[in-house]
Subunit: 318 residues, 2 copies
């Protein structure tokens, strides 16, 4: 009894932004099972791989994916150097301020915008562009920098897992080099534990100095079936814990769940229209439909933002 009570106290200390409920309890129970030496579910520290989606799981994704907001801002910034965009969709509509018309072309239009704004520069130049944007851009609803629109309970969860010998990874559909400049500070996850979509790059010498240049060509889309593919490629072993929030994460969750031994599968469900947003089956961003059905069928842990989280975002930085 005393030991259990102490365990609960420690969990409350480690996860202060989580309400005492089923979700927190499931996390704490799982961590205890895999870290108890001699227990039947014990997993050596080296094999405690935990993977997290980013958009909608570690930070917000409304009213649009933040990387898309970045790309739109970049179109505006680059427009003076690209006069041809005035007559070329989706750029023309975008520059007129008609986002709806610009995005009417669907995924193809978005891809064009992303490649036009993310490529044809060195990796170093791109990193600077991302850092500069984060330092100035503000979220349209909250007015906060985008890298403060992260979920405090998830930051605590990442820290709690690492304190228990886990290696925490991001496996996002977002661009790998869009995330790497800021996620270490935001989540404590180093660049080499960030997996995401990639565009092709090439190595070349410029004035005797080696550079890596970003090419306007898709390499790997780390979404849906691409997530387990990316996990296998980058990590080379199967995670024992996975967290997502949408159908784009389903295959990653399935791949993780199908490994032998103890597994934890979690889904962040957006249920809090007041403090964040409420959306699932009918959302065009972060649609949670099939994965929600599978979570119910398989007994995965569904985190209800409204009820499970005491706070959503970190307290404001000074």
């Amino acid at each position: 009894m005393l030991v259990l009570a102490m365990g609960a106290a420690r969990a409350a200390d480690a996860l202060p932004s989580w309400n005492d409920g089923k979700a927190r309890q499931a996390i704490v129970d799982f961590v205890k099972r895999v870290t108890t030496k001699g227990g039947k579910d014990f997993v050596p520290s080296a094999a405690r791989i935990a993977v997290f989606d980013n958009d909608g799981t570690l930070w917000a994704e409304q009213p649009m994916y933040f990387q898309l907001a970045f790309a739109l801002d970049r179109v505006k910034a680059l427009a003076p150097q690209r006069p041809e965009w005035k007559d070329k969709e989706p750029f023309a509509s975008l520059l007129k301020g008609d986002l709806k018309a610009a995005l009417a072309g669907g995924e193809h239009a978005i891809l064009e915008i992303v490649l036009a704004t993310h490529a044809n520069m060195t990796t170093e130049a791109f990193e600077k562009v991302v850092r500069d944007w984060l330092a100035t851009a503000k979220h349209p609803k909250t007015g906060r920098p985008y890298n403060e629109m992260i979920y405090q309970p998830m930051v605590e969860l990442l820290r709690y897992l690492r304190a228990n010998g886990f290696k925490t990874y991001i496996v996002s559909g977002g661009g790998i080099e869009f995330m790497r400049p800021w996620v270490e500070r935001a989540y404590g996850i180093p660049p080499e534990q960030v997996i995401g979509s990639t565009i092709k790059t090439k190595f070349e010498m410029r004035d005797g100095k080696p550079v890596i240049v970003r090419l306007p060509e898709v390499d790997l889309i780390s979404d849906k079936e691409g997530k387990p593919v990316a996990i296998n490629k980058f990590i080379g072993r199967r995670p024992i814990l996975a967290f997502g929030n949408s159908d784009g994460d389903l295959q990653m969750l399935q791949w993780t769940a199908a490994g032998g031994g103890a597994r934890f599968i979690g889904i962040v469900r957006h249920t809090d229209a007041d403090r964040e947003w409420a959306y699932d089956r009918n959302s065009s961003i972060g649609r949670l439909d099939k994965a929600l059905d599978e979570a119910k069928a398989k007994g995965w842990t569904v985190v209800d933002m409204k009820n499970d989280w005491k706070t959503i975002f970190p307290s404001k930085s000074k």
Copy 2:
């Protein structure tokens, strides 16, 4: 004086298979510089990324790349299921025992052999094939298992670096999934710190169970210009130490050297025809020509196997 003498004693303890010479001294000096808190070259542990080529740098690569030996053995093993190979090059010559004729097609022939033997199975099945091969195949010259043809001084160097807060990576032209099953035991390098060439894979459900299937299509060749590209993609930050042995490593060495701050660039030179092999500028395997010139011009550390290493391979396992 006393402190210096103690440092030398510790280096001898940590690197017992290295002779007391310039190469060992250069390594020890570098490690001291980047780990001395408050020193001008101090690098925080998280940024101490060290990358190592594999073939010819961590294990031998003569008389042919070991992965090619694996592929040739696989052709023989698979031949009964592939009757069409009897009339199809390069397989026909190979099955007749005429290796020279089989490889007359150069890189294209090798690629055909590799794709035919490395793809069209799940990642789990491939891992088992690699493990089974290593458990039975023997090196033609020494009669030892291939995973004992590793360089003991380099194993010590990897361990010494990790003991000094470095994160050690393999960046090989070899196949990533050919290395991952055995390198942790051989070198202490976990699967997620192994980077290599990749073929494409796809996720699918088979009888309700998710699998990842290896496809006969090249994804990334992690050689020459592909090495810095792979480092940037998988690690996302620049190493401070790099070790190679051939011109295939040159761009990785250049990329590492071009970073700001203290850098260590090392080359293993095969100079020991008695205990290992002696080859460099004129070898078709592991040719060391341009990189040797650049090493001399830039003052990189060239390890002379014959003179710098007390022992080459680990003592035989029982």
